[in-house]
Symmetry: C2
Subunit: 485 residues, 2 copies
């Protein structure tokens, strides 16, 4: 690559000749690693005209750098960064200017400090990745996704790709969701009751911003999805964490001052508990009594391989008090970042205005590609394939867990993609996870999902969405070995 | 398409026989528009097994619907929604349930109510679209974007496409920005001083959330980008709108209590004023005196076709007090939704944590496609083509405006893509825009960009980024006709 003339600027405050300033700019570029060995410099004519200096000034600067072995000359083809030029130091040592700002004062609100488990980005290089929410390259329908993405790049979809939707979204995707996705959850909705979001996380975040203030109370499952806890903590509302049991959130525990109830009835996150129909009705009744709203995160309903999923809470909702959060990031792939909200028009209108302010709209190409993938039936086919694989793996998990004497606390009634495990009393699963990593086993410690001071350390999650069935038995054995059970 | 068995649920509270419930579900599906004429129903065997009822119950329900002409039978190929089935009413008339929630109380914070001009989504069907920020299909390098997007869909990039980056981003894209994009603005930065965002709007929004609170003051240009005003209004900080002059924001007008200064020095939005070097230095000096931060929205620096752009404010910043906002959505296409923030590591860390909470990360495919498009040199070639086209159009604009006696208030010193126009005193450019629409002319009224009670109505923006050069003269003539100048 050649170095663009646009990267050169004269500094009017520079103390020294123009020639020395040009020399210094080039030397600094090399020392800072911006200009790399073998890269071509602009011609002296071009650089002189860009900087508004005489050509001889540039030529003299180049000659000087040639003498110092920063540059080499290849006759008529010009000047290049020399192979003997000084090596740049690693990036972390470069500072253009001192930082004189007192950032502890300048930052008005802090957002760091959540207890977010960090998954290794190179998880696929581990042999036994019992980790959650990453794509199994053997299951994802890469070929058809690619075809749909290419179709969405065509001339016919030029405007769907490039357009500024302002606060709107791809109407094809919304139509598909309304006509085909939601009816499978028993939900009837109009297009203006749907908002497309940048993943389910974005849907939960928008909902919290619209519904909660410092004076409101949110009831939340304990343990719960740690990113949801961060969202609610940042909203500064009052939090009422309610311990879940094997049927999920207990409605009778919801305190009377509650304004919004966050729940995951299909598969409680992370315990995988499925809420029975009776409790769903009791939860709706309790919400009606308190005049509270319910936010239903219906994640993993697609992964029901044992039997048909229960209808969503939203489908039983006679009052319009359930806000439904759906996602394609889980069931297609997490890097997709595509989810949706379903709720009353008055609510969706505010969430839409906030989304417009925060990011305008999800990328056009992503929305149109998903619309094709869904409407051509590839999504359904993917889900069928996924269910078959998950069923096989779930059976292998059961068998191995039983054989090696591990203890399952929770498993979804309809399926899912993980088990919630309990290690013997006194086990610290953070340390367990660290040890197992050395054996090529990735597990997820449970502590970050809990609230409060004395958070239990003996729980852990074993997901089987990314590990091949034939490695499960050995992986479980390695866990049992470390636990000495 | 055939109707999925998953859309059927039995309601335990249904008053009536199973057969009548099945009939009713199907009839409701047809009446609500979810099941359309010609669509195939599940086989009686499949539906019976899904619902856990006997096959004869389903068959009797189907036979009844056949008799009522909701369904037709095509012998062995099964049952279909009849062509004589009742037509569904339009979507707006369907309600599954009453909405008994008092949304005026349930909504904790309102986000609607900003004065956002609504551009017609069908702008390209107008003959004279003097509108801003949409993609000209004749200028965008669709073919190479497509190739890069296809490359980013390949097996080699499987993980870049699908992976959950958690709070990180595509390091290739960051590397390109650090090594090639920022040096063109005179900016030296390390990768951990850069954050990729879902468009520049998202970058501005994140910045406001991190730096501002109800107790802080933001100085802001008047007029300014209306979406920025909405962002700052929602943050509930104190706002100090400062009238801009022909050189942009006047540093001496910045009030002493200011914490953060938002500015657009390359091309003031919307007046297009370019801030001269002397004023840039005065602005930095003023910020240092007040210990205030500066947020520099460097939009449209690429569109400098008259002469080289001035170095960014950020490049003159010795203290680390400038936060720089860049965008590819403007220069590639707005539906892309890709921008970036450059600032001190302490600031970027908080913005990253907030981004993770709001949406995790921008879609992987979008980031990798942009990285290819940039590093293969297509971006630079696009910008060169864009500059040539904008120069030609800008000259045509000048000529036509002079000929027809319109009045330019502002134009970028280095180029840009629009003029800020002033109509004769007393003109309401909202009404002007409405009238001109009937002649196929789209212009942007200026009022939404201003602050306060008595916002001027006589300004308007004429952009030339989406109108072919040969239509400019006629378009300007039509504007002059309506203005009677």
């Amino acid at each position: 690559m050649s170095i663009s003339v646009d990267t050169f600027f004269l500094n009017p405050q520079f103390q020294g000749t123009l020639q020395s300033q040009i020399q210094q700019m080039i030397a600094e570029g090399i020392l800072s690693g911006r200009f790399r060995q073998g890269e071509k410099l602009p011609s002296s004519r071009k650089l002189a005209s860009h900087l508004g200096v005489s050509r001889i000034t540039v030529t003299l600067a180049y000659t000087e750098l040639l003498a110092n072995d920063y540059l080499t000359s290849r006759g008529r083809s010009g000047y290049f960064v020399s192979e003997n030029a000084p090596e740049p130091p690693p990036f972390t040592n470069i500072r253009q200017s001192g930082d004189t700002v007192d950032w502890s004062r300048a930052i008005g609100r802090k957002y760091t400090g959540g207890d977010t488990p960090r998954k290794p980005l190179d998880w696929s290089s581990y042999r036994y990745p019992f980790i959650y929410g990453q794509t199994d390259s053997g299951l994802f329908d890469h070929a058809n996704w690619r075809l749909c993405a290419i179709q969405a790049l065509g001339q016919k979809d030029f405007s769907a790709l490039t357009t500024d939707y302002c606060d709107l979204e791809d109407e094809r995707l919304v139509e598909f969701i309304v006509r085909h996705t939601l009816p499978r959850r028993g939900i009837v909705a109009r297009p203006d009751e749907v908002l497309i979001t940048v993943g389910a996380q974005n849907a939960l975040w928008l909902t919290a911003q619209v519904l909660l203030t410092q004076r409101r109370t949110a009831a939340i499952e304990d343990p719960c999805y740690h990113a949801l806890r961060d969202i609610l903590t940042q909203s500064r509302c009052h939090l009422a964490p309610l311990p879940v049991d094997r049927d999920g959130l207990p409605p009778e525990a919801i305190p009377p001052e509650t304004d919004v109830i966050f729940t995951t009835p299909s598969h409680q996150c992370p315990t995988t508990a499925t809420m029975p129909m009776g409790r769903r009705e009791a939860l709706l009744k309790r919400a009606r009594e308190l005049d509270a709203l319910i936010v239903e995160d219906d994640y993993e309903f697609e992964m029901s391989f044992l039997n048909a999923p229960s209808p969503a809470l939203k489908s039983l909702d006679k009052d319009g008090r359930v806000i439904y959060v759906g996602s394609f990031s889980k069931s297609i792939f997490p890097g997709l970042r595509l989810g949706y909200l379903v709720g009353a028009e008055s609510f969706i209108r505010e969430a839409r205005a906030l989304r417009a302010s925060v990011l305008r709209h999800p990328p056009g190409h992503t929305m149109r590609t998903a619309a094709y993938f869904l409407s051509l039936g590839h999504y359904d086919a993917s889900i069928r394939r996924l269910r078959i694989a998950l069923k096989e793996r779930s059976e292998a998990m059961h068998e191995a867990i039983q054989e090696h004497g591990l203890n399952i606390w929770g498993q979804g009634a309809h399926g899912g993609s993980s088990f919630w495990m309990r290690a013997p009393n006194g086990t610290d699963t953070n340390k367990l996870a660290e040890k197992l990593k050395q054996d090529g086993v990735l597990i997820e410690p449970g502590k970050p999902y809990f609230f409060g001071q004395n958070r239990p350390r003996e729980f852990y999650r074993l997901a089987y969405s990314s590990i091949p069935a034939d490695r499960i038995s050995k992986g479980i054995q390695l866990i049992a070995n470390v636990l000495n059970v």
